[in-house]
């Protein structure tokens, strides 16, 4: 077999995790449990070079995220580098640290839109989930963004402690001038995986939430787009994670590690390459980390012979590893997985009483390791 390999389609999008530092300490954080220290972060010149390389490769859209990207004092210069390379930029922020001057510098540099995280509709509950008094700052940030004429989206990570407030959470979108709200049921990576028992909702909560989403979509049709990210633990179907491994987008972490998805560093033996060491094109097209689960040839049964393999790509590799110990296994969220009972047992288990859970573990300062409960 010496047929030349098919060319690798270029990526569309880049998730730039500019820093792991964050004023918030959300228990659902999907960042890795070992956060990157600030001294290990890429420099401005390295990010500028990364965006030039990304644009040459085919990237047209970037999410500037973290941690809290506003903690990078050179954020406007980073935005300018991406925009100058022809890449559409969206800031993903907690809103903490955004003031009028900062926003003006970012828009002057070419920032195109802002996505603001919200933890709860009730300020006190929101602050408790975030581990920081942030809710009022978020409302101010929303007013600044809409006042500057930028499109505003809200994103909410949903879990047991805020699903009951979903109706009011959706109401924040029209109240704050957002044209989009993304409702993402918690994905259990990083810190969220540690806190799984504390975060998992009940089936009844989810059923009510889905009814709320249907009703609010009708009410807000044409004004606010409501995105409901399906909770794969409850549906019996695997999510088409990342649109396929190494197919649509890539992530660059604060220290320059390049990953097929933000959680992939947890997969052992992946040996992800670093932008400091290799050209981005070679990483995307040829690195072992990006080619390992690209396409369908790596699949085992039941995926290998499944009609859905080109639609769901076998689900999520990180979840397969976390729950089965084998990153090439069928995602246990899928009802066809031989390990599906792992998921069913989790979601059908009676909710543990709060006092049995201990304190949730929160991402702290990046130089610190896991807090002991």
């Amino acid at each position: 077999m010496t047929a030349p390999p098919a060319p690798v389609p270029p990526p569309w999008a880049l998730l730039a995790e500019l820093t792991h530092a964050c004023p918030l300490h959300c228990t659902y954080c999907s960042n890795p449990v070992e956060l990157t220290r600030r001294s290990r972060e890429l420099t401005l010149a390295q990010w500028q070079d990364t965006f030039r390389q990304a644009a040459d490769l085919g990237v047209v859209s970037a999410h500037l995220s973290g941690g809290e990207p506003l903690l990078r004092q050179d954020l406007a210069e980073i935005v300018a580098a991406a925009d100058g390379a022809g890449i559409h930029t969206q800031l993903i922020t907690s809103g903490v640290g955004l003031d009028r001057d900062r926003l003006a510098r970012l828009t002057d540099a070419g920032l195109r839109s802002v996505q603001l995280s919200v933890q709860h509709a009730d300020p006190a509950d929101g602050d408790r989930i975030a581990g920081h008094r942030a809710h009022a700052a978020k409302e101010r940030a929303a007013a600044l963004v809409t006042g500057a004429g930028l499109p505003l989206g809200l994103n909410v990570v949903l879990h047991r402690h805020n699903l009951g407030a979903l109706d009011a959470l959706i109401g924040l979108a029209p109240a704050w001038g957002a044209d989009r709200i993304e409702l993402a049921n918690t994905q259990f990576y990083g810190w969220a995986f540690l806190n799984k028992a504390e975060l998992l909702p009940t089936r009844a909560q989810l059923a009510e939430a889905e009814a709320t989403v249907r009703r609010r979509r009708q009410q807000l049709d044409g004004r606010v787009e409501i995105i409901w990210v399906v909770p794969d633990h409850f549906e019996g179907t695997a999510k088409p994670c990342m649109g396929g491994w190494g197919a649509v987008s890539l992530t660059v972490t604060p220290d320059g590690t390049v990953l097929p998805c933000p959680a992939a560093a947890a997969i052992p033996g992946l040996d992800p390459p670093n932008i400091r060491d290799h050209p981005l094109r070679r990483i995307w097209e040829h690195s072992a980390a990006f080619t390992r689960y690209r396409g369908t040839a790596w699949m085992q049964d039941p995926c290998r012979s499944c009609a859905l393999r080109e639609r769901d790509f076998g689900g999520c590799r990180c979840q397969a590893y976390a729950l089965t110990g084998d990153a090439a296994a069928t995602d246990p969220a899928c009802r066809h997985s031989p390990h599906h009972t792992v998921i069913r047992d989790l979601v059908d288990a009676p909710a543990p009483p709060p006092q049995a859970l201990g304190r949730p573990r929160r991402p702290g300062h990046p130089s610190r390791r896991v807090e002991t409960p």
């Binding site: 490769l57 085919g58 022809g86 839109s113 499109p151």
Partner: protein, 85 residues
């Protein structure tokens, strides 16, 4: 009704993708691949031309093409999507 001078909605960027050889509309959470003459039409929507002028310019470039019947309807559809204002 005042004349409409179509221009991209906030956060919307029209770009020629030199890697893929296509025109794109870049939106906050979406990339739209523009087919046929869509890119050429939208490139004229820079907020300085009203619709009759856009039609005139395209007709001059493409004599005989059904510009006058198709372009205004196309622009309306793009406005309804929220990509033009």
């Amino acid at each position: 009704m005042t004349a409409w001078y179509p221009g991209p909605a906030p956060g919307v960027l029209l770009r020629a993708d030199r890697v893929r050889g296509v025109d794109l509309l870049l939106l906050p959470e979406r990339v739209v691949v523009l087919e046929g003459a869509a890119g050429e039409v939208l490139r004229l929507c820079d907020g300085t031309r009203d619709v009759p002028r856009i039609v005139r310019e395209l007709t001059a470039r493409h004599p005989g093409a059904p510009v006058a019947t198709e372009v205004p309807a196309f622009l309306d559809r793009v406005r309804k999507e929220g990509w033009l204002r």
